[in-house]
Amino acid sequence: MNKRFTMHIDVDAFLPATDEEKAYMVQMRPSSTFFRDGVKRLLKNKVATVSLIIILIITLSSLIIPAFWPYSYESMLGVRPGKSVDASFNNLSPFEYGETEQARIAAGETVFPHIFGTDSSGRDYFIRVIYGTRISLAVGFFASLIVLIIGMTIGSIAGYCGGKVDLIIMRFVDMIYSLPDMLMVILLATVLKQTLAPVLEGTSLARIGVNIISLFVVFGVLYWVSMSRLIRGQILSLREQEYVLAAKAAGAKGGWIIRKHLLPNCISVVVISTALQIPSAIFTESFLSFVGLGVNAPMPSLGSLASDALNGLSSYPYRMVIPAVVISLIVLSLNLFGDGLRDAFDPKLRT
């Protein structure tokens, strides 16, 4: 088409729009935010949704059930003040009752059943599994939180400052990264157990247990490195963006830029890697419990329950199978949910 350039103005183009044209421009659906988009993608992912439901069910039941369950995780049912120990309560099979309970049933009372039986000290095993789940989940969650806070702080400082600061921090990170982590965890846990006990005695922290505290310390010391590497990489690429330059030109200080501009933009990466950190923390806790460096007795964790079950494995294999299934279920669904989260919120990271 041979269109010549003219100064002639097409008057038709300036007429008010007809209703038909207006209807064409009406937005058919409300605009969607990044977050809502991600949630929609996440819910479309069946595997991730099912995993999320499983995690919620396990978490909620571990929080709610101990509140109304008639037995507690530490009370040995056979032990009564002023009487000799009633050994009939030890090692009950599922849905069996101790002698005094059988007498009460014979007298017409209803006794709450021991769904998973009792352990070798006569403690209700069901509530121990539930409580152990709560401990394991809490340890996983708080350990990841510690890793997140330390890794985020150091990573963003290294990424933002650059230059010598970055070089020194990153050499230090390399150093810690190349240490064999599990061996160092075992070493530190062994030592902290002895060192922290007298320090913590009498404080409110002692109630949580020296071993869990040392586990948190170990996580804080060793596992922040990969998180800080991740954040640093993100910040390095983000700080070259124009809006950071604009903020600087407007007189914003470093801390403000990190908090208001850089961190919010790494948030999806951070959330995803924290979600994937939780199962690995649960893994580590159960491993340490199994080696004998986990939670303090009588407090149960899934790892210590499995470890205790090893002694009576040939007679009571279900005592090993139950915590094993719960722990695998938690780790598996957290991993799958984390993968789904990554696919939904950060398609770039997809592997």
């Binding site: 390399d174 150093m175 190349s178 240490l179 064999p180 982590d181 599990m182 061996l183 160092m184 075992i186 070493l187 530190l188 062994t190 030592v191 002895q194 060192t195 007298p198 199962p279 893994f283 159960s286 491993f287 199994f290 080696v291 004998g292 460096l293 790892g303 499995a306 470890s307 079950a309 090893l310 494995l313 040939s314 294999p317 090993m320 199978v321 094993a324 722990i327 695998s328 780790v331 598996l332 991993n335 799958l336 592997t351």
Partner: protein, 309 residues
Amino acid sequence: MNSKTMFYILKRIGLALLTIWVVITVTFFVMHAVPGGPFMSEKAVSPTAQAALEAKYGLDKPLLEQYGTYLKDIVTKFDFGPSVKQRGRMVIDVIADGMKTSAKLGVIAAAVAGVVGIVLGAWAALRRNKLIDKTIMVITTAFVSMPSFIMGSLLLVLFAITWMVLPANGAAKGGLVLPIITLSLYPMAYITRLTRSSMLDVLGQDYIRTAKAKGVSRAKIIFGHALKNSLIPVITYFGPMLAYIVTGSLVVEKIFAVPGIGRAFVTSITSRDYPMVMGTTIVLAVLIVVMNLVSDILYKVVDPRINFD
């Protein structure tokens, strides 16, 4: 091998040596920070006997001098001092004893994991999105999510107690079969997934299409072009795999009562045999660091395209 590669290798060796030094130093000072020191005993000992004991182990000297002696003994003589709980035995002898069984266990487990993992991974990649691929992926996902002590216990319940086909005791004849299976399942699953994704990546490359267009036979494409190139990322997993097998052997040897270094380590933790804990930590750490070093260098040599900086 050009000078850049050489420089990388030297740098990597330097980092490994530094890491080993840090491990020894951290281990030493951390252990000596324990109240009562590493040679604390539960039994009440008379002051003279205590003094004699400290003199014998050199504990009366200043800490830095003890550190120097410890470091020197390790570097020159592989000497980690005497075990506290096993009277009259040197730590290094206990480690060497346990190493015989553990090395056999670890090497076989690693070989099984490598071979089975690569075969399954390649198979899954070639049958992408078919039933066999999905089955392999579901099973490996389950294996990756299962801590080794749970895997070991379940295998023990099934094979040794319920079906009674294999011995539960690792010292018995054929007793290493279950520990080897337990130890190899996780790395096997990991290698399968790694091989699959890397193989899929390679199969989409231009040179594979070129080979197909040239009329190269399918077997030659798979083994000569695709598999060879997709194994490069698997090499990097060798270091982490060894680390996993070392830590995994701690629990596996406990479960199956294998008389190896892992069980000795766990026992020394619970019995607070500090020189033994220190010695084992250092030996295992050196093993892991060296394996990481080897797999990193191998990676660089095999594929010069990779640039680390």
